[in-house]
Symmetry: D4
């Protein structure tokens, strides 16, 4: 039931062209079409800047190319996450104008760069250099979605003066994404220094009892700093997306 | 070193009232006072509306009363979380003007109710009636911090029409807190319906393989809806606090 | 929109009593009411024999009584699960015609006993006497939902002849619910003997490395017998419910 | 003791061709052959459509070929699960009439396609495209066992309208298999929409805190929708088998 | 089918008193009776000294008394494990000749003390005094089953000379049961000193990361001493039983 | 202090060749040499048939060859466990008389085959063909240590008649090793059929929630059959060794 | 063999009072007595200040009193850990001169207070007030063992200036014990500020995903600050003991 | 602000060369430089022997070379941990004077070998030969930091006399590092023999239920020997570093 279709149905009923029974049956059989058109609108809106992100992991290059072509017909901007170098090469061969960010494993095809629409600056801060792939995924995602993004890397809590030296930048942020592996303590320190939304991203960096990021994840969930929220291990994309939604408010 | 104190020290040095050595010693011995005054400011600001929350669990009533008295001298508003009925009774005996919210286990002593300062409405939505204590903790925290809060309870995903019926309210929210136990699926559905910051709160509601909330926590961390961030199990306070920070932006 | 309400709206429109615009607005504003009536129908159907089950754990007796009164007004049959003796006493005081099954922690208030509607017999088989509370919960639930139910208790795999002695009964069942704690091996043996749907229910019976039923749960999920499906630890109700749905097919 | 063999033994005894002692010895020494013939019958029945499934993982191609040849002598239909491309190539070289389903990692050799014997349609619904290998394994297994199967893919809960759009198909199913990774929420939504047996299959799709499917598994075991039963992670075969047993009832 | 019954059936068939069809039907319907009588014999044998142990946990005193009376009619010896003081008092009231071992939570009713039948001495050695309840359960079980038992308590590995001082006793044992909590290292040391069957029993003694005995259990399963086998956490009974079976060989 | 050395020292003291002080100092400084000779004796005994087993995993071929040469000088029999094909090839090149058992990953170099010294037969029974590597490791270890060993493979509990068909063999065993993956239920069934020491070996066979053998391990630790003891996952060697020690008693 | 006994034996041998054979037999049979006297010496030393600590948990008051009396005969100083108020009352009744530290659950009976022997000051620093019981256990243990101890409480990382304000005290410490629950991040910050041995003590303070201290434990084990070592959850005693051993060096 | 820089600034202010405002701005903008110089001093000190360790895992060879060059300009000694052979080859090509320790995966470039500054000898003792890589990492780290180091390998607790034979060496150590995999029992035995700081390092050596070192880690955390502290799994570097800090005291 498109909105117009619904209107016509009711008009026909009003004019006696269809019986009450037929109108009722049609309404009953297709109740979610009614819901559907609202969702479509909603989704269409999302696509402008935010959505239609392709999760590259576990998809065949052929599948990805097909999705891309379908999107390009609608002039959509394309972001592919967790894409290996191998798959990226196949895609770049077809779409040489795309850009592959190797460390972050992101591919972006964006003919109409989005103008910045977020209210403030999103700061991405990471504890160690090895957390950079996840931090870059967050930063690039947030930029793709139309935000000013600033990055501060390698400021772990065991050299606390490094964190403190950046207090000024943190204070000016509208949202802060904190990326850390190992014990995942950086969000607690950052969350205690500022009064901004802090999104913590645990990474799988570490060994032994870091358990592929579980330790960092648990540490962040138990942060003694109020107001820290957490996303999945290595989920830089999710953090960048959530920060964008907050920054657009 | 208050800022003024620092200025005076430098002026004195400039005027020859103190020696370079003395100035240097004072700066050297108290380097964090310099840092300190910013923090104090920052903290003072926080206290207006947001901070000085007392974690009631594991504190003796006597300890809590002492902290409260010290806070009241500074005319601060008081929020105590995870406070048992027994301890609350002792406190209410001393401060009959305080209000104890039994289900949420919160005590509030707030002589100067904060006027609403948040930009929009924070919606708290929960999956089942048994999630209400955590949902109430979130809602009362957000209200205490100066936000309009709306609550929608008992709308679990196994009766999806109940969620959909509230799509309008969700669409008008500035931040949404989703509280759910068991499989913790509600944030995924809500996150897919709206384009707002969604903070998911897993609860310990369930039995058997719900493992005291671990299942809900994991479900939320793996939400297929982009932009969902998560707090600790049963951490309604943390969700309410984070939502407030976002809403104040 | 009750179904009748919808009909009346459409009739009014057909008769010109309301305008197309007004009808459309009502439909639009309440799109899920539209969905609702289907669900309601569906739910109403469910209630005849299957649904409106009250999860007793974590609900105050007062809450439960209120829900019961609301249900009784609609002449519904009532099943309350996980109800402690204390709460049951309060309820029985108000509704002396109700029956409390202590071991299974179920309360049933059923003025119009359902006539058997399931196609065949549901057999509930348990490994040990200590699994009986869960087995009884499954059996009583299935009976409440209109099924013939047969129970075979205390036939664990360490005395395999006890299982084999009941091969005849198992062969005649339409659905088999297998309840076991500790190593949870009974479903594998039963599943290998018959060609019927087998629903496995792990129980928290055991100690040490039984980890409150996790061992039994994992054992059942890894059953080498094809076609075994599993429910949550101690979830006798869920197994009884699922068996009923299968038996009604 | 084949059934015929047993009959002949008893006839010979009846005719005085063997002594009571010899008959008794034969029965006594092989008591489970006695059991066996029932099982064999049972198994023979199973084989017609259902059984003699070969678990391909961890078996050498030579072993598999030997089993296949032994089965083909008895004119049995063959289903091999979890078979890698490499092993499949070796088998296809020998049996070019076999069909290898790469995505589902299934090989089928089926000279006498089974005519549909299940009562209704089994619907396989999956949350994401990456869940397809498991969903296909379930669908192909159910088809191999003589069922009509319909598949609905890529209808995750974060776009709830996609699920709702298929309510009609779900309502017509006799059994529904729901396949999902990540948070595994789809079975709860589906289970709340319909009144059919729902078999949930968690997949290992996801990363970080999805823990190779544990999160989806736990979510499904804690489903708030009554009547959902669960199989092992990635066990599409088990779900297809269980659905067949239910559908044959 | 008792053995005699089977013989008579075959004789009748041989004599033409029953038809082949009737004989076959009888054999087919009751195939496990044949198995059954063997099992019964086997079980009867077990009962002499070894079996009919009652697991007291989770059984009502009334249930236990009923089982006891049934056993006493057959003049059986009775061992009840994991029996609380409360339940024991009720039983002792009825059977004052029974003996309750409080620390081990065992009740024994044994009018005809078994004469020692084991080949050698079973030594029970424990790491700490707090492991004594489990060690005593093992020792009393082994004694109940007709073994000489010797106990060596409080000889943890952090005072290794205490273990070494008992090398003589260990060398003379036929089976050694090693009981330890915390890090569970004693079996490795004992297993390295002697060339005897070593059964390791982890206990739940400890705190923090001892996780209720998991640490001790894992330590024992990974023992670097060859030939150590392990039972469940706190399962003194199981160790005593297994040691008895070995000692009776 | 070799034994002879000790003797000479005491003789020298007795003859006045050394002073009491010097003897005492020597004894005091080397107290564990004193212990040593006993251990050596003990160890020497072990080596005859039982010990000097080389754990091949994580050792360089060069290291292994060095150890082998040192052992061969003392005419010892050699058993190497967990040896990959690659390393085995290097060793076989040097010692062509050695035998490599590929499936069990064992290499044996045994110029003087041990004559059977165990009292009875050790039976190794496994649930599935994929458990064979572990079962073979157990069987070969037990044979290497001088035992008669019988193997029964592929008799999982989902076809219980297969287990029962071997009841005779099991009844004649002196020790039974039960090898199983997935749900690990076979030891419970076997343990309930016989009155012999049962050593359960969980294997890593399975997928999904089998968690690399954890499920089988837990199932075996919680076996409802008394007297079952357990070794580490995939530890066929440990089971064979423990069975040998029991059988030698 | 006491040292004197050994001497006499050797003297007798030297004088011809015993034969070489007899001396050798005695030495051989009791080799660990020889070891024993060294250990006793060693232990005797330990007791002066350090050892003979009684673990109060799981011991009956009567047992504890007996141990205490035996120790007092040897004029030893007594430290009892993890002692409940109830048990303490019984002990204080008998030994009114003992002192019970309720928060730390320690009882000390120390007629001859130890004079300070540690080289420097041990600093105990804790993150929150609720970590105080564990911190006090550490501090009191270290003081009991003869060390100067300083305590700094409630300086969690979410208010990093509080930690920094104590940099001077930390810099003067010889060993630092860091006590923290929740995310356990304090040791990383402290370990990065100073160049002293840091012993981290995770506490069970927290809720939800703090899992009784596991999160803090894991965080500390993964500390990005080099040189941090860790003890068991809530093991203040162990930290105090280890710090004493380091400080005595 | 270097210390000298600060002094000059204050002198300039004192002499009127800069205004109060400018001085204040410089101090305000760089408040952590003020902190910094202390840290730098502290760090500079650390570098002499202790710090500037490069974590090689997850770094590109190019990144490592750049860091090395920057360090060499400051004449610093270089230690790289967890460096693969491949990366080492690239580095050795550039810096042929560096030494790569393959087993320990350490690269050291140390033109000015440090003279021994630690007070005593650090003893590294390991349970098995397969623990050697971790033990070597600990030993080489401690030597690099200017300590005398002694190593004792392959003295696991299942041959306890091997441990005891080294009691003399252990008694002379100033700090003991105990490295063990599997059940991780060696630290308990060593910790009970000596009165020295014991740092336990769990290794990932083992299989099955050793869970990559978790079992050893848990065993060490629960050591019944007082005073044992623990580092992360396979963290030989951390143990060597912590031992150095203790030994330098």
């Amino acid at each position: 039931l498109e909105k117009d279709h619904l209107k016509r149905l009711l008009e026909d009923l009003s004019k006696g062209k269809v019986s009450v029974e037929k109108a009722m049956a049609e309404l009953k059989d297709l109740p979610f079409e009614d819901l559907g058109f609202a969702c479509v609108d909603h989704h269409r809106h999302l696509r402008r800047g935010l959505s239609e992100v392709i999760f590259g992991e576990g998809k065949e290059p052929g599948d990805i190319l097909a999705i891309m072509e379908s999107m390009l017909k609608r002039d959509e901007r394309i972001l592919i996450t967790r894409l290996s170098q191998n798959k990226a090469d196949i895609i770049l061969n077809k779409f040489p104008q795309a850009v592959y960010h190797k460390r972050a494993r992101l591919l972006i095809l964006d003919s109409m760069p989005l103008k910045v629409s977020g209210r403030g600056t999103i700061v991405v801060i990471s504890a160690g250099t090895s957390d950079m792939p996840v931090a870059e995924e967050a930063a690039l995602t947030a930029r793709f979605m139309g935000n000013e993004v600033e990055t501060i890397y390698d400021v772990g809590v065991s050299g606390i003066h490094r964190v403190l030296a950046h207090r000024g930048d943190l204070g000016k942020a509208s949202v802060i994404i904190v990326v850390a592996g190992m014990e995942g303590a950086l969000p607690s320190v950052v969350g205690g220094l500022v009064d901004k939304p802090v999104i913590a991203v645990p990474t799988s960096v570490g060994y032994g009892a870091s358990f592929g990021g579980i330790t960092a994840l648990l540490g962040m969930l138990n942060s003694c700093a109020s107001g820290v929220t957490v996303v999945n291990i290595d989920n830089g994309f999710g953090a960048g997306y959530a920060a964008s939604v907050i920054n657009r408010q």
